[in-house]
Amino acid sequence: MITEPRIPDPDGFYAALLAAHEGLDGAQSADLNARLVLLLANQCGDQDVLLACIRAAAEDSPTSKAP
């Protein structure tokens, strides 16, 4: 799993991600995120990296608990 920065335009990416969620309710946003995860997973295509990413995503983050 690569954790060093690789996204050429991080702010632009983040803005595009937010824009895609604009106007969606919680369920629609969840659907969008799920589709996005699956599309990105196929871009990665490496089973070990995918499993490492799932583990990393599932780790509790002490500074950003869900509201």
Binding site: A27, A30, D31, A34, R35, V37, L38, L39, N42
Partner: protein, 549 residues
Amino acid sequence: MESFAFAPAYELPSWPFTPPSELGSPRTVRHPIVIVGAGPSGLTLACDLAQRGVRAVLLDEDDTVGVRGASSRGICYAQKSLEIFERLGIYERIAAKGVTWSFGRTFSGEQEVYNFNLQANSVSRQPPFINLQQFYLEWFLVERILELGLTDLRWKSRVTRVEPLGDGVRIDIETPAGRYTIEADRLIDATGANSPIRTQLGIDAHSSRSTDRWCISDVRFKKPLPVERWTWVDAPFNEGRGVWQHLMADGVWRIDYQMPEDCDTATISQPEVAGARLREQLGPDVEFEFVWIGPYGYRDHLLDSFRHDYVFFIGDAAHVVSPFGARGGNSGIQDAANLGWKLALIAQGQAGDALLDSYDAERQPAARQNLEVTSRSARFLAPRSPAEHTLRRAVVALAARHPFARALVNTGRMSVANDYPSAPQLPEGGRTVQNLPLRWADGRETTLMQLLAEGTRCIGLWLAPTRAEAEAALAATAPLPFHLLAIGGDSGLPALQADDRLTSHLGLREPGSFALVRPDAYRAALLAHASPDAIAAALRTALAQDTTP
């Protein structure tokens, strides 16, 4: 409300109870092999043994085939099972009566989101699948067993108690003519999911029950539909729940509807309610008649060990998985074929008891794998939380547009001949060898199953050995149950014609390479450059004999 007709019930055969000689005799007779339960796995084992010339006692509490009060349970027989039935001599009957298929489609709503063609990876004489009502399969097996004439088939004989002994098992049996007791060197429990033997011995099956509910409608109608396995993740004609559609023998379709978890099973299986579902699916103008309606839930269990001293568990007595992918019945049939040749070699004094440990070492992991695979299908079909529903919606939405997501759509992964892990008798693990069409050097045709149907022995397939090597290998393996063949070359051995499909399926490359095939058509060893000593050692390992000559 529309009313619906039922077809006349199937008339199934029954066989007479014949009082055995042990009834009323003070002497307790000991039998080498006693099988309890005449379902698909018990019958396959009895037939496999009889085909090998080995006698067994087969006890069954009933006197007919099928499950009383129900229609067919299993319907899909997979290639490995069909290859076993070819060897046992009933494949032609199954193929003539059943429905051959290899293509499956999965739909979401009105749209096809996934399909597979199992024929693509097949080099076998047998097709990927044949659908057939389970009672027909059992019927053919019983008739074949009677024809072979070596099995002591005891109908209406219920096992009431088993008692493990130091060197076997004591078995109490209840019959219409009274009770009696026998002993067995080895007892094979094929009594199914609710095995009373397993319960009585206090063996934990680690069972769990699903809350998912389904209702089968077996039905006959005139609307022409393709002979394919069709599944819907979310059918518009079933309130967005799953539906299965499959053709069996006699023009009977099995249509299986997923129901709400909290449904009332008595209500959803009423003919009027089931008929309304079918009417919704088939349209207003299609006439149909019911053969059977049956609601069900499913469960799973898996024994930690399939061998407990002199008691062996096969089929549903050992493992139960959810029905998606036809991995239950097929796995039981393959349990029987795995155990049959091992019991036969022991009966014939050509192998020791250690060979029987390999039954558990091979089939328990196979069942564990089937449990994992079917549990994943079940979870895709019945998501357990809002998050799982969200993820499945994403899969289905993407699958409509993008090929990668189609691989994630899971309405069952069809039964395969499981690979076996590395174990003492299989140092490199084992994998199935399909029923390849073969040709002798003189042009006569044969198949791997025909070669394996002769006696009980391993087959060695050696790519173009030299004459001297061939003679030395025959000498080194002389006392063992072994049939050594050449592929091509001029070795003096019986020789098959070289053929790319054969050598690549076996994994043979260079001249001198060698594959060892067991009586159950699993490859036990692959030697890149075989020597006579290495061949003899591989054979002794596969037969659980001392590796020192």
